[in-house]
Symmetry: C2
Subunit: 318 residues, 2 copies
Amino acid sequence: MDFFERSGLVAIGSRTRLLSERLLRDAREINLLYGSDLKPKWFPVFYLLLQDGVGVVKDLAASTGQSHPAVVKVVGELVKAGLVERKPHPTDGRSSLISLTAKGKALGERTREVVPPVEATVKEIMGECAHDLWQALAEWEKALDRRSLLKRAIDIRKAKSAEKLAIVPYNYTAIHRQAWYDLNEAWVSQYFVMEEADHKSLRDPEGYILDKGGHILIAEYEGQPVGTCGLIKMDDPLYDYELAKMCIAPKVHGLGFGYLLGRAALVLAKDKGAKAVYLETNHQLQPAIALYRKLGFVDVVGNPSPYARCDVKMGINL
Amino acid sequence: MDFFERSGLVAIGSRTRLLSERLLRDAREINLLYGSDLKPKWFPVFYLLLQDGVGVVKDLAASTGQSHPAVVKVVGELVKAGLVERKPHPTDGRSSLISLTAKGKALGERTREVVPPVEATVKEIMGECAHDLWQALAEWEKALDRRSLLKRAIDIRKAKSAEKLAIVPYNYTAIHRQAWYDLNEAWVSQYFVMEEADHKSLRDPEGYILDKGGHILIAEYEGQPVGTCGLIKMDDPLYDYELAKMCIAPKVHGLGFGYLLGRAALVLAKDKGAKAVYLETNHQLQPAIALYRKLGFVDVVGNPSPYARCDVKMGINL
DNA sequence: TATATTTACGTAACTAGTTACGTAAATATA
DNA sequence: TATATTTACGTAACTAGTTACGTAAATATA
């Protein structure tokens, strides 16, 4: 069993599983030792019924932390063993009231006698250990309740990736010009048909955005352009810039770059003295709309758009 | 998930299992997040092969702590996925040499990249916990290696039962006379046919043992006689007493009472000035012979026995 | 109040492990 | 050296859980 020492913490799931196999295997033998043929997997449901008298599947599942089909199976086995019975629920036709039979209660009394010596056995082992497994398990459960392992892994991946992200102003090189066209063309084509206005602005970012007092930011990941965001100067009493052509390459989706890029654009707009920023999008692009909301944009009534696809208008006061 | 708080330590196996389910479920998602379709259950075997280059089923099972069929299954799946190949073992026709294919090594490189961020995720959680789950798991493994949960439970049960055991001298009451007959008669009948000598001594313990300078001990459990042991005075230059009629009721077998009763008899013999004790038994009674050895008896060449069934003779110097 | 949505739970199919058992090769022993 | 025992590993059957999905009852909503 040298694997765990060699692999380190990444194998904590496997190590936990392995110990549980070992414990549950012996648990069965210990029950038999005390003349109880209660299976360890029955214990949680059985014990709750013994204490509370009656229960329904949903509550038993919630209390034991198991899925409801797991409880359904256990209850079925307990019924078959004559230890438990189902009665109609008085007010809810979907549920049954589950309770111990006389035979179940008798086994319950014997089970109560088994508990103290088994507890003593566990305590003996805990006495030989400097680290408290029971407390550690409880703490991990709470930590995972707060934020799951997956959610934490995603956030750590985002943070690590963000370290390799640089958001830089458009630098008038062929690389940035090409990136501006390619990234936006790929994005628009994925959801819509390229319109004439798209082609024009994508081929000439200088003429359409920068020379008219606008700005462009390029997101670079490990030196490669992976995202674009334009701020088009608006001639409007309410808004200074329109946020446009914001896109992130699919291969770096899910790393939070869209938020970082959008935030950088708003910071830039504020630096340039802007009081409010406007944008237009389409109701079908829910992830994009969610991102805009996260950035602080709210729905507004806007001008008629030159793009047929724009039916959602949003604004933000800086 | 209030069950564990309510049940206490007896449910440590279930609690460990539940956490492992939770961890392994997310582990799969995290691998996919990093573009690795390695299943968590593949990880131990895969990682060992990545590190060591080559392995055989037996060693992989020993290193991971799993059963060999579990490893056989994983290797089969890895072969099917094109990540691993089997080659004939050069010296042992029963084994195959298992190693990564080119595809497996490529995935191995990606796996090496996944390890640090996953480790960082686990460390983040550990940072929120006062008790170290990883160390606790390692300590439990070692504690169970020293003595399994079952072995410990058995010993604790023995110790608890011994508290309710009293070993007392034969008190000439009808209860002890009846117990002497019933317990020995049941024991002899289980293995042999009652001989004439049995009937005589069992009906008259006073005449056959006590009045001739011998002694009888009765083991009482919760006030009920459950075991007997006789010390018959011998007229022999080598031995002072013969240990005989030692039996324990089947319902209290496995509690270590035989050892306690035998030890008490030897202490009594020594108190009475004995230098050596002799006994006769049958080679088929292996558990009894093991007990006598544990008490310190060794095989000796003895006298021809009046009992046909006695073909093993043992002695002990006090 | 009719209709849509949610909830409770049962079943099927799957997953990741186990124990039990068989077979052939390797090793120990008479 | 022939025979018995042990070892390595493959397969079958089982265990304790899961997710996915369907149905009927309960609840919310137009």
